[in-house]
Subunit: 400 residues, 2 copies
């Protein structure tokens, strides 16, 4: 559904929607047993919930397309991930939960190694340790620019974020990253008149940074790319007429939630922390995005058994979600992360929607095989929220 249509249909109500995202939820059969992570897991609560839910699979971006975390989540928030794309610099800032203002310009930075001739010999500065990188960033913060504020934030290993804040800035500037070995870092250039001030400032900053870095090999140079503003998107509360909150511990998911206008609630790392935060804020919001990271972490590590146990951990707490008596409880993922692939994948994602207005559904258990008998079939993830809105009585009738 287009957000514009959602905006036309959305109405307020006193119903509650909980979107519980088990990151990297879907899997593939373990070759030794023929069973997926969900089939191997002991999930009596999710199985019971599946029997009482409408079941199926979501396709995050498109058939055959492996999504990153950004598009996977945006789709679940009702934002078409092919339409709502985030510039690289803004995504990097989002990933560290940096609060970009609309006029800020963010760029992704890499420390790199140059030889005596100034040519890049390692684009990632030997993937220096995050601690060392953060130390170098402290020095870079001393570089001042006229008329604008400068933020330099460490990310992980050789990565950092550069943010310029002030009047008259623009993202119409080119990368300084030549993206190849054996070339010098480039000067940034304005791609139109509006970019000229920004280009001048960035080149001045990069030039002073080069002096500071000169004796800090392997991080003796840096490159910048993906200059971008924070996306100026319609906000969920305004489009869907709900008070929306995220309960996500990791910075990337807090950042994504804030991009679409959710209130990012503070929460600890455990599922008990998650439930405590949910309960404490139950009356203050209508929609809760609840993020559980650890299924994906285990999947990415190729650790089948840990992924199984993390799913079981969520299962053991399902009744705590239901006891809050939400009008709609969705359990799904942002993408599949089969432990056998140790990576995100393109496979459709298990999806169950619990509501008192559900159809009878033939699905008997919460796993990739049983869900194939679900009434919802396989559908675009961006339709999940509209579906929830319908079940929560939050959409008007379309037409008379």
């Amino acid at each position: 559904m287009e957000l514009e249509l959602a905006r036309q249909l959305a109405k307020t109500n006193d119903t509650k929607i909980v979107l519980l995202v088990l990151d990297g939820l879907g899997g593939l059969p373990n070759p030794e047993t023929g069973r997926t992570e969900l089939e191997a897991a002991w999930t009596p609560h999710l199985d019971r919930m599946a029997r009482q839910s409408n079941c199926g699979f979501t396709v995050p971006v498109g058939m055959g397309i492996t999504p990153g975390s950004g598009p996977g989540h945006l789709a679940l928030f009702g934002y078409d991930p092919l339409v709502y794309q985030i510039g690289r610099g803004a995504l990097e800032a989002t990933g560290i939960d940096f609060d970009l203002l609309p006029s800020d310009i963010a760029a992704r930075g890499n420390f790199c190694t140059v030889g005596e001739d100034g040519l890049i010999i390692d684009r990632r500065a030997g993937r220096i340790e995050t601690e060392r990188s953060a130390e170098i960033v402290k020095g870079l913060r001393e570089i001042k620019l006229p008329g604008v504020e400068v933020f330099v934030e460490p990310v992980r290993e050789h990565r950092f974020v550069l943010v310029l804040r002030g009047e008259g800035l623009s993202d119409a500037v080119t990368d300084t990253d030549p993206q190849v070995l054996g070339a010098k870092p480039l000067l940034t250039e304005a791609t139109n008149a509006e970019g000229e001030l920004t280009a001048t400032l960035v080149n001045q900053w990069a030039s002073e940074a080069a002096v500071y870095l000169a004796d800090r090999a392997p991080a003796n140079m840096l490159v910048l790319r993906g200059f971008a503003r924070a996306p100026d998107w319609p906000a969920m509360p305004e489009v869907f007429k709900m008070r929306t909150a995220s309960i996500a511990h990791y910075p990337m998911y807090r950042g994504l939630a804030k991009l679409v206008g959710m209130t990012a609630l503070d929460v600890g790392p455990t599922i008990e922390d998650t439930l405590a935060t949910l309960k404490a804020n139950w009356s203050s919001f209508d929609f809760f995005f609840v993020h559980y990271k650890y299924a994906d972490t285990a999947g990415e590590d190729g650790d089948f058994d840990t992924k199984v146990s993390k799913i079981e951990e969520v299962d053991a707490h399902i009744d705590s979600f239901l006891e809050l008596e939400p009008d709609v409880l969705i359990v799904t993922g942002d993408h599949s992360t089969p432990a056998t692939m140790a990576a995100h994948s393109w496979h459709p994602v298990p999806f169950i929607l619990w509501s008192k207005f559900g159809r009878t559904d033939l699905c008997e258990a919460f796993n990739e095989t049983s869900l194939q008998t679900g009434v919802l079939g396989t559908f675009p993830a961006k339709e999940a929220l509209p579906l929830a809105m319908g079940h929560a009585g939050r959409f008007r009738k379309f037409g008379a």
Copy 2:
């Protein structure tokens, strides 16, 4: 998926994809037995493959829409058949595997019969035999035009193709075919300034052709329609970053493959020829479009039993495809051709995708009933290649 997105995501890999198209594959129950062609056929190898595959149906163009061979195949090549449409003249040239240059102008020609008053009394010249038509075409080839090369190629019965090759030609000209009985063939007219040279040349050619044809009744006149250039589409090798080859014996399918930039390999008419060509070229290409015509031919003839036996012929050779160890093997059709209808139909087309990264699937056999339990459900045929690209590790992740 848009081709532009595919282009952004595609990456090279050493994996192999085989798309085996059984032309006209899907069917309907025989009223006498209640079984479709696929249900009547003895297909132990395809059934085993279905049990190991991800299964479903494709919709070539849209629900309820019966596709021609062009759109049916283009969809399987990843080209949205509603976006990538071929002008009639270019399609006719494609159908005889005529190599159109980008600047060529092709038209579909019909021999027709006119009375003494010059009015058309038979738009198809009594469907004269192909041999006779080819004989007449030889005479037409003697007509020369100033500054351009002229090709006249017989098609079947009363049909032929006219191609003009040279500088300054345009497809901005109207048909000479009035499309009704009792009217005279028209003069072509330019629809804009660019079409004027072409209109002059076509009228000169048609006028000389009329003289030549005058005593060759029933083919004593001709009409031309659908002046068109070869489509200038993105090429598969460039969009999908694969070395692509067609193994198709019939000119129409070779022509379609060449339109999207595939290398059309020479191959004999039998399935043994097909496999020999596939094996001989295995290391030289990444993607093979393998075309098997005879299921459609039997279907169009309304010959249920022959369609069954042709499907069985393919079944007996399935293991030869698998023994090549492709990373992805798809078996599907370009459209359904139920023998009970003796025509193409709009019914979704059986589809199975074999890959080591497939999900568990409930489908137990390769037929229109069992495939309904497949994990892929019913999906647009244009998504088949993106799905194969994902399973072959040939798409990058979308977004970070």
